[in-house]
């Protein structure tokens, strides 16, 4: 995928999703004579990682797992044998769609004291960077997601994660960030950053993830 220009300052992402998959579909206009033929291409994510997809048609499954790996499919038939498309070919097929794809967001992880909605000292320092990004880049959306470690029960942690997300939202609005773009979500202990067993103290899971787009 080509480097895209964005008005976001590129502070390196601090959350890396482990299983990103990017792909492209190209369907020819219905005006052309049938049968329709679709093209499906696997793309790398912003960090260059390649996922994997399955294309199923005509009773046959084909797996795409390499950069630029593509198949074409005609109605009622199995997918073609996978082939590789060059970046130029991909851009000429679907340049405008690729350019329209939302740029990689700026993401921050803020950590909290144990069983508390108070930020750690280091995260308080990082918070100043968030304020700058939130104010200067005119974001469409600031998503604040609260999380906990696995100590305590499901309900309690949902509440704690909600308090953490709300605390960050309040700090941002106190700094004059436009509240109409702020969205708060909370997931308790359901999506740990570091996988642990249940009832395990893990400071890196006591967090709020702030995604600015």
């Amino acid at each position: 995928m080509p480097e895209r220009k964005t008005n976001f300052s590129y502070i390196r992402a601090r959350i890396i999703f482990s299983a990103l998959v990017a792909f492209l579909l190209f369907l020819p206009s219905c005006a052309t004579a049938p049968p329709t033929r679709d093209t499906i291409v696997l793309l790398p994510d912003a960090s260059g990682k390649i996922g994997s997809i399955i294309v199923y048609s005509g009773g046959i499954e084909v797996r795409l797992y390499k950069k630029g790996h593509a198949v074409t499919v005609e109605e009622g038939s199995p997918p073609s044998t996978p082939f590789l498309m060059t970046t130029d070919e991909i851009i000429s097929l679907a340049g405008p769609a690729i350019d329209a794809h939302p740029p990689h967001p700026t993401q921050y992880v803020l950590y909290f004291e144990y069983d508390s909605d108070e930020l750690t000292k280091n995260s308080m320092i990082l918070f100043n960077g968030i304020i700058r990004t939130a104010k200067n880049n005119n974001p469409v959306r600031i998503n604040i997601a609260g999380h906990t470690d696995t100590v305590g029960n499901h309900e309690y942690n949902l509440q704690l994660s909600y308090k953490r997300a709300k605390a960050v939202a309040s700090l941002l609005s106190a700094q004059g960030v436009d509240t109409s773009v702020i969205y708060v979500t909370y997931y308790g202990k359901e999506i740990p950053l570091i996988k642990t067993g249940d009832q395990v103290h893990e400071p890196r899971n006591r967090r709020t993830e702030v995604t600015i787009r």
């Binding site: 299983a19 792909f23 579909l25 206009s29 994510d45 994997s52 038939s77 350019d99």
Partner: protein, 155 residues
């Protein structure tokens, strides 16, 4: 007479069942990040001009004109885009980790479409499905890359 009554009850039930999905789809499941040229959201018979920040609901159809393109972000931080003369429908989008519920069904009927997975791709990749007029596409975790094998083809 009895018969007419049971039909009336049946009709009433149908109305209730028809109402239920509408209220369920009121919840926002994403938003428009960027728009260029003609781009619309079709919702319950209405054609809304898409704009930056416009909320997306389950059941929405997104479309673009000959000069249009649009980028959207879903609630699981996955993102999608479409080029000119394109059309896709969000038949299903559920991201509720607190209840362990996940599901995506997006039907692409025309044009170009890109998708980048988010948390559903990480937590429950098998629950996401994309359909085109010719095929169905599913997401697999990167762990499949370790067992690299020649794909099964028709040849």
């Amino acid at each position: 007479m009895k018969h007419a009554l049971s039909i009336a009850i049946l009709v009433a039930l149908l109305c209730i069942f028809q109402l239920a999905p509408v209220s369920a789809s009121d919840k926002s499941i994403g938003f428009v990040q960027s728009v260029s040229g003609e781009a619309y959201i079709h919702r319950g018979g209405a054609k809304i001009s898409a704009d930056t920040g416009t909320q997306l609901h389950v059941g929405d159809t997104l479309s673009t004109g000959s000069d249009g393109s649009m980028g959207v972000v879903f609630s699981d931080e996955s993102s999608a885009s479409m080029g000119p003369n394109s059309n896709f429908v969000i038949n299903k989008f559920e991201f509720s980790p607190n209840e362990g519920k996940f599901g995506v069904l997006i039907r692409i009927t025309k044009g170009t479409f890109t998708y980048l997975t988010g948390l559903i791709g990480k937590l429950s990749p098998e629950s996401a499905r994309f359909e085109t007029p010719t095929s169905t596409i599913g997401i697999r975790g990167t762990h499949f890359l370790i067992n690299v094998e020649e794909p099964v083809t028709s040849q």
